[in-house]
């Protein structure tokens, strides 16, 4: 205890606080934002939780309360567990690869464009391409008739059959998902790198000869707030926003294809008309993501230095 109390007290910077005369006014300002969250997030969530306890009649004539049976069914199903493990592998691969490649490109670009603003604008303009367009282009790469990647694979004797072969489809899914997310990560990493003060880099130049060590001990720690933000964004992306890519790849194809949990929720609910089961699955997913985010904030964020 004495050791702690002997430490000099760090003066906290005074927080800037806006004062309102009327207690109602701040809530009024918040109202539009709250309304959006309630309508598009809380309300559907509550509905999902509610319907997950019922079995719905396929024709919409009525529903029966079944308690936890929907959850039990989902978790007991071998298919569900297989898809869950694919989702985990898929998420880890997509998140890791898109972050790593995005960072690598950003570091390389940063070395070239320090100060050259025209070049910077040129690189960042990639970001202006709409993601669905990028996704569509990516999928055309793997088209069995015209896709250049399928042809390239053929040179090495790989008969790539996206939509038919489980592994080939998974490969294409990961590839396109990563490819589509790289520009996003690149932009954030690049701006993060550009925010590292020049003089700090120069001081590191004088203090440390080894470039990799310099990057690891000075640049990377200063980049951690950006990386942490991107980690959460990328996990969410891999879990949810890859829906469109998966849909284009496996829709109207034979059944033996890899899909993620989100796609299964859609399949069971809107194709199979099993609203109760699909609701239970989405609630499970929600809990998993919630737990994941808490873990990240509790254990990772503590190690991050915010400038």
């Amino acid at each position: 205890m004495t050791a702690i109390s002997a430490k000099p007290k760090v003066q906290a910077e005074p927080a800037k606080r806006v004062q309102f005369d009327n207690a109602l006014l701040p809530w009024l300002f918040l109202l539009p934002q709250l309304a959006v969250i309630v309508v598009f997030f809380y309300w559907p969530s509550v509905q999902a939780v509610q319907s997950s306890f019922f079995i719905e009649d396929p024709f919409g004539f009525g529903s029966t309360f079944v308690g936890m049976a929907n959850y039990a069914d989902a978790l007991a199903s071998r298919e569900y567990r297989r898809i869950a493990s694919f989702t985990a592998v898929f998420t880890v691969l997509v998140t890791f690869l898109s972050l790593a490649i995005g960072l690598l490109l950003a570091v390389k670009a940063d070395a070239v464009i320090r100060g050259a603003s025209a070049y910077k604008t040129l690189l960042i303009s990639v970001y202006a391409i709409a993601p669905p367009v990028a996704g569509l282009i990516g999928m055309m790469f793997f088209d069995m008739h015209i896709g250049p990647f399928v042809q390239m694979a053929a040179w090495f004797g790989w008969n790539m059959q996206v939509g038919l072969n489980y592994f080939d489809t998974a490969f294409a899914m990961v590839f396109v998902s990563v490819w589509k997310q790289i520009p996003y990560n690149f932009i954030f990493f690049l701006s993060g790198l550009q925010a590292v003060p020049v003089s700090v880099r120069e001081a590191a130049f004088i203090d440390c000869k080894n470039g990799w060590r310099r990057f690891r001990t000075v640049t990377l720690p200063l980049l951690m707030p950006t990386a942490f933000f991107l980690l959460i964004i990328n996990i969410t992306y891999a879990l949810f926003d890859t829906f469109g890519i998966i849909d284009v790849m496996v829709k109207d194809k034979p059944a033996n294809n890899p899909i993620t949990l989100v796609y299964k929720v859609y399949n069971d609910g809107f194709r199979g008309n099993d609203l109760g089961g699909s609701s239970a699955q989405s609630v499970i997913l929600m809990v998993v993501v919630f737990a994941l985010t808490i873990v990240q904030f509790r254990f990772l964020e503590k190690r991050i230095h915010y400038g």
Binding site: S199, V200, D207
Partner: protein, 354 residues
Amino acid sequence: MASIAIENVVKTYAGGNTAVHGVSIDIKDGEFIVLVGPSGCGKSTLLRMVAGLESISGGDVRIGDRKVNDLDPADRDIAMVFQNYALYPHMTVRENLAYGLKNRKTPKAEIEARVAEAARMLEIGQYLDRKPRALSGGQRQRVAMGRAIVRKPAAFLFDEPLSNLDAKLRVTMRAEIRKLQKRLGTTSIYVTHDQLEAMTLADRLVVLNAGRIEQIGAPLEIYHKPASTFVASFIGSPAMNLVDARVEGGMLWFGGVSVPLAGAQGPVTLGLRAEDLRLAAPGEAAVQLRIEHVEELGAQRLVHGMVEDQSLTIALSPDIPLTDTLPIALPRERLHLFDAVSGKRIETRVPAFA
């Protein structure tokens, strides 16, 4: 510790702009050299070339007996103190100090000893476990100095290290830097645009203008014998008065008054320091200064006025009563003459009084 030789160093940027035109400075071991000049004169560029943060377009830089042109900054055995401190924000003060040593594989015990010594010298011992964010500007500056000291380098390079501090702290830190450098005896190059800082710190001053050396010399030598009108107006506060005058037949004419003078002919620029001018005694030859405005500095009073159509500033004791016009005597021994065209100093002799 080592001498530094800067030999005909040139810096040309990719666009063809030349920032430094063939500068040569010989710096002795343990010397404190101050590079001073207005912004854009190339002083920082020169320092950064010595540090290795800018490539050298021409000429050589030697630290000790090594040519360092192509060495990495980390291999040059220099330490630099930056204007905005450039501390590593994610490391504690202790880690900041130790970082450069750790990367050089200094033994742990040695690092600890050096950090403790530097902390004691700079009185930052109680902040060692803080992050830079929790320190004041002056404390950060000390840590930046400490980071340089622990390395025990051949040379310290200072890039306007006091510019971000307030005026009072600047004076204290100035004195501390000087004391520290004397004590450690480390060769130092210090860049500043503040002539007062330059005068007080330097063993020798290097006055730079537009990428060229105007003058090298001890501070007082430069103050008393500025090599050009540029140096004359840059060093000393208030700036030296520079007025048009004529030399005819061994007499210098200014403001209707003549002073015997040899060694020049025709139109010249006459330099008069405000503090060298004094009120003329009754009957003494004097120029008439019409007072325009007065700055009260407390210890002295700066009187700005006109002699004929040229402006002149004079420093007077506040005890002297002011009238609309003051008779000012020209200090025969303290006249500076410069070529009216090139601005270069003209050596003159004041003939003995008849």
